[in-house]
Symmetry: C2
């Protein structure tokens, strides 16, 4: 079995509030076909790929339910699954999940991993929700992920798929070292990450260039320090008047970017990810069993915030 | 009290096996005086600054005792402490420590933090020892830190000094996310790191450029992800026939390098480190108390190596 997985990063341009899901799924299908044409067996779509990034607006959570999926696949997304199965191409898809349970409705920022036969083989619910839960007047724009989503309950898992060890994370998770490490400790070989990152900070004048640097810095460090491939895929461009950074990238276990988007539009980037390249660092400089010293790491789990 | 600390990174060129400690301390004093001349109140010297990087040679541990310090200050290092006190400049110094205890001799790869009155206010013993403990024939050069040193017993502490929260780490510690995070969870504002990094890997053809990239990548990510300054200082150049990378750097809490060495020789880099710049990220995107989810991080402490 080959250990080279040809991966497509399917960056998306903006999705307007007025776009129908059917129209957006057509774009995903076009990207999926382009990836198939370039020989990809796995395509990564962004976070919340089916809709505009609605957490920038304040409402009662129930009023946003039109942005959520209650089944997957559902009527709008079924054509994507069918085309994936027809082409034999798997995918990662981010979407807003509404799970109606006995205790009531639960809402998550979710990603799924679908194999080349169109079967969902993994689900992840975002753990590091950024932003805030109430309207904050001092912000230039709102970022209400903590309002519309619960903290995910899946933990950071790694699946045997595509001939390797596949992990998932979503957007802000990529800034947190624990995300990569918990998967690294499960021998992850490729981590798939969709994101929507505003080009402007809501409280400071941080330049967009610095925000792009942070986007790549965290994913490159996460890749190198855990000897894993990382595929980060953006929704980009000016979406309903709010600019999102692009910069989708495929990153080798050396931390080097091997493919990077150069537009803010629908754009496919492709790389041959040799999963065996994870082995060298993992056996040597980052041989966890030989070098890690968990007896000195206790604060990482015993406290959330800083404590002197 | 000002929260701006002017810090000097005192990179050193090689220290030959034949150099006396007295001669090497003269070089440290020259760098200390240069830093004082540029208004620094804190100077960071490299790891194992008093000697050549002796773990590249294989011997019985006791045969290397000449490279170790049994007291600090000792006869050779006392002039450095006296000059620091006279100038009112504090420093970080890395050295090999031989601690003779009732149970026998213990050897550590150690750093100390000395305040502007020449008093040792902090000591750290290196936790992440790279390399191996026995001669390994397949390597182009040896890296016997695990032979000559015990794993440090101090943990990662943070000291109130120089008007802020000061942490220490040594060389290979900087590649490990836990190093920075454990100090970040103690509100660290500046982390001082000395290093000696061979320009060639002992088992692969990894290019020196990639090794320099990793050097900066890990320190920049550690700074940004923990909202802290990082000062990394190398011993550099061709030392007893073995090339060490330089690239000493002072890194802001944004992850940006604000000062960087451009030679492989004794060279001072200087930056004004405004410790209040740690606050913005720490209060927002990296507000640990608000965003971290330790309930999902358990593997980081419950296992050293990977486990599926």
């Amino acid at each position: 079995m080959t250990r080279i997985v040809r991966v497509g990063g399917a960056q998306m341009g903006p999705v307007a509030r007025s776009d129908t899901k059917e129209r957006t799924v057509e774009r995903l299908i076009a990207l999926l076909r382009a990836a198939h044409g370039r020989g990809c067996e796995l395509v990564v779509f962004p976070e919340l790929a089916l809709t505009t990034f609605f957490p920038r607006w304040y409402a009662e959570p129930g009023e946003m339910d039109g942005y959520f999926e209650t089944e997957m696949p559902g009527p709008a997304t079924r054509p994507l699954f069918e085309e994936a199965r027809r082409l034999g191409v798997g995918f990662y898809l981010g979407y807003a999940e509404l799970s109606v349970q006995a205790a009531g409705a639960r809402r998550f920022n979710t990603s799924i991993l679908v194999d080349g036969s169109g079967v969902i083989v993994g689900k992840y619910r975002k753990i590091h929700l950024p932003g805030h839960s109430d309207y904050e007047n001092e912000r230039r724009h709102q970022h209400l992920e903590k309002r519309y989503f619960e903290v995910g309950d899946t933990g950071f898992r790694v699946w045997d798929a595509f001939g390797g060890r596949v992990g998932m994370a979503i957007c802000n998770d990529r800034r947190w070292v624990e995300t990569y490490r918990v998967m690294g400790l499960q021998d992850v070989e490729i981590i798939l990450i969709g994101y929507n990152t505003p080009a402007a900070d809501s409280l400071s004048d941080e330049p967009e260039e610095l925000r792009m640097f942070h986007n790549h810095l965290t994913m490159q460090a996460g890749a190198y320090q855990n000897s894993t491939w990382v595929v980060g895929v953006a929704k980009a461009g000016i979406e309903d008047g709010h600019r999102l950074i692009g910069g989708s990238a495929i990153i080798a276990p050396t931390g080097e970017i091997v493919a990077q988007a150069s537009t803010d539009a629908d754009e496919l980037i492709v790389a041959d990810c040799d999963l065996d390249r994870c082995h060298y660092y993992r056996a040597n400089i980052f041989n966890f069993a030989r070098h890690r010293r968990p007896e000195f790491y206790q604060r990482i789990v015993s406290q959330a915030g800083a404590d002197r």
